[in-house]
Amino acid sequence: MYSASDLRKGLRIEIDGVPYIITEFNFVKPGKGASIYNCKLKNLINGSTLNKSYRSNDKFDEPRIEDRKMRYSYNDGTNYVFIDDNYEQLEITPGVLGNSRFFLNEDMPVDVLIFNGQAIGVDLPTFVEKAIIETEPGARGNTATNVLKPATIEGGYEIHVPLFINQGDIVKIDTRTGEYSDRARVARNA
């Protein structure tokens, strides 16, 4: 059981039997008044979001989510196959993975979230490396990081990258935002 003062970004709570994660959190306490905890919550089953305000006396159930340590193995043409240390496999559909599926690399360690015996998503490492498969040619010498252009990574996911990034470069992506973070390596034949 959580109380309102436990609420923070990243905490999972259960509302009416549904697991949610707090994606934005804001504490307010006007004057010498009561504490108010404003939360933006994401439904971990269907991805929908809602805003809620809570008070000090509110209590929350902790969703019984198992974080199962697994590694990404391969895509069988439709589903994504994960494997644990005992070689037990688990298939997860693209619908459940959402955008996370674009950030998987072979052998990547992930936490598979299991709720009521069902996989409901995966927790990825915060940063993942991905190759750029398509982007406009880079402006050599342009090291500005505030001007961005579209680029596509393996799997077809589009991000925005600085002008100096070229096709074939490996970039770091922040999986919390799904956005470009850094250049990891320059393309070998650039």
Binding site: N26, G33, G178
Partner: protein, 318 residues
């Protein structure tokens, strides 16, 4: 999307080294604050951090520590010094409030608190204006700052807005007919968003139910001589003409204890030493409590406390 929103861990040495300019800025701000008060004949005091009887307030919770509590404010001890003949005192030091953690709250924060005898809440509002002007001039070399998308000129008009007039937009007057829940809701949703952000605003003359340790002025309608200062929409300081009546003070503590018990919150023992000091006689006085970390944020143009505190609490209870 990934469900990984884990909080960042402890700051690395590289993170900390980035705070160097902010630490220097803070150090200059503290030095300028001490200079301001010392020039005006104030005595800097230190009062205990660990206290057996934190002040009873309905919505402020103290952190227990070894059979006592960490102070939520230095108010009661400072008033005992006033009653003992210290007529102008100030203190800079940490205060601790359990469960207060957010972008502009940290459960441990730095409070500047000062008291002066023979003054009321209007006198200390004028003094607060002088203080903030002097601090801005000292650390920034100018009277204005940009913060939260807003330029605030401290040398401009300071707007004094009564609670009655501020709540006109909500269609009722909390001073005449008080409703705690409605007050909080409307303050947050209607009043605060409409406060001017380009100048300092003092919201003043509170309902007597929200007086805490403030003196009340006879009506009709009676009001608490209290103000809250907002800069760029951020609540920065709270001030009272202090309540000096021991009977009324005891009654308020007891009412507050009952309310806290009903809310299922811990009830702290009455501070009998403080009440005894009021009985011996606390002269007419006024005081201000100002959040120095928030002032630092404002003057530095920072959006939240993360930018000014190198060591942030990990959550609402350390």
């Amino acid at each position: 999307m990934s469900a990984n929103y884990q909080c960042e861990g402890a700051p690395s040495a590289a993170d900390l080294s980035r705070f160097r300019p902010m630490l220097e800025f803070r150090s200059r701000l503290l030095a300028a604050t001490r200079d301001f008060f010392c020039r005006r004949g104030y005595l800097e005091v230190s009062t205990p951090l660990v206290v057996p009887t934190p002040a009873l307030e309905q919505h402020i919770d103290a952190q227990p520590v070894g059979g006592a509590y960490l102070r939520t404010s230095p108010e009661l001890h400072m008033k005992r010094l006033l009653a003992a003949g210290c007529d102008k005192i100030f203190q800079i030091g940490p205060c601790f409030r359990r469960g207060e953690f957010g972008s502009v709250h940290n459960p441990e924060f730095c409070m500047l608190e000062w008291y002066r005898t023979g003054a009321d809440y209007r006198d200390v509002l004028a003094e607060t204006r002088s203080l903030l002007l002097a601090l801005a001039e000292s650390v920034l070399g100018r009277s204005w700052f940009d913060c939260r998308g807003q330029r605030v000129d401290l040398a401009g008009d300071w707007q004094q807005l009564t609670v009655t007039s501020a709540f006109a937009c909500a269609g009722w007057d909390p001073v005449v007919c008080f409703d705690a829940e409605r007050f909080e809701r409307d303050l947050l949703q209607r009043v605060e968003p409409r406060l001017p952000r380009d100048r300092a605003v003092a919201l003043m003359d509170y309902p007597v139910q929200l007086a805490a340790l403030a003196a009340c002025r006879e009506g009709p309608p009676p009001v608490a001589e209290r103000w809250e200062l907002y800069l760029a929409g951020l609540e920065l300081a709270n001030a009272f003409t202090e309540l000096t009546d021991p009977v009324e003070q005891r009654r308020r503590f007891e009412t507050c204890a009952r309310e806290r018990r009903a809310d299922g919150r811990p009830v702290y023992p009455l501070d009998l030493e403080f009440l005894a000091a009021l009985e011996r006689g606390l002269p007419r006085c006024a005081g201000v409590a100002l959040g120095l970390d928030r002032l630092l944020m404002l003057l530095a143009g920072a959006l939240d406390l993360d930018a000014v505190l190198p060591f942030r609490a990990a959550g609402s209870s350390w």
